[in-house]
Subunit: 61 residues, 6 copies
Amino acid sequence: MPIVRIEMWPGRTQAQKAELARVITEAMVNIAHTTPEATIIIFEDVPRENWAQGGVLASEQ
Amino acid sequence: MPIVRIEMWPGRTQAQKAELARVITEAMVNIAHTTPEATIIIFEDVPRENWAQGGVLASEQ
Amino acid sequence: MPIVRIEMWPGRTQAQKAELARVITEAMVNIAHTTPEATIIIFEDVPRENWAQGGVLASEQ
Amino acid sequence: MPIVRIEMWPGRTQAQKAELARVITEAMVNIAHTTPEATIIIFEDVPRENWAQGGVLASEQ
Amino acid sequence: MPIVRIEMWPGRTQAQKAELARVITEAMVNIAHTTPEATIIIFEDVPRENWAQGGVLASEQ
Amino acid sequence: MPIVRIEMWPGRTQAQKAELARVITEAMVNIAHTTPEATIIIFEDVPRENWAQGGVLASEQ
């Protein structure tokens, strides 16, 4: 604890994910007073054809 | 808000997902009084070998 | 299967949830060719103080 | 109901998932007094490059 | 890792949750070859009025 | 998109959640190149009696 789950469209590099993991863990430690070791971050890549807003798939917008 | 998440076995076409996104967004707007733009729908395809009911994987039923 | 999960702010009545369950199950059956019995719908009420967009909690917007 | 969701790194065989499904369903029935048919288990394979702990991606540890 | 998430209707006692946590962690260790310390289990109580199957809320069945 | 979901034990103040929302949205914008308006953050408070690690509920550790 805590567990942070990040859903994004595909296309972020490993370097971007590594940087997000580093900065968000730091925020959890500084603001929520947890430890880095207790902070788990999970990325989920959601393809545009599996995502809709306004009733329309992102792959068709 | 709202966020609607739909887990299904693979095999639905893009046309079926597009139609589900359209109809479910319409239901959210008409019944829950949200707006189309605020309504996000995410599809997740769950392979049969990752799904069990009755203690048995769907891929082995 | 399928499982549909709907996150909304609190405030919808039981009648609205019942109507959403009915209409969305119907959509899943008609469009995704599943059965009503196999369709599970879960509502999650997310309080405004647990939801942020644009970097600001909804309870402070 | 109930729904059990298991996130793991990839690498478990189908035989391991089948055994987990069998044993966990049995536990739900014996301890939580549900039925096997009502117990759904979903596995999600999370790649190491999508998982961080201690601020570092598992793929870089 | 792994993370196990269990959604159930309310009504299970703390003793039942403790027993489920013990037995499921044991299954993860024995079958999936993880460690107890790496195994996180989260229970989520879903009220019957937030759960529908067959297009009908469980609270109205 | 993106959607960030943060599960923590209860006890964080609204001020801490507001600060987390601000800082994490900023990180998503700077590192993942999204917009603040597209970034949704959801907090979920998980009671200690619903969380186990090492096979033991946190409320009993």
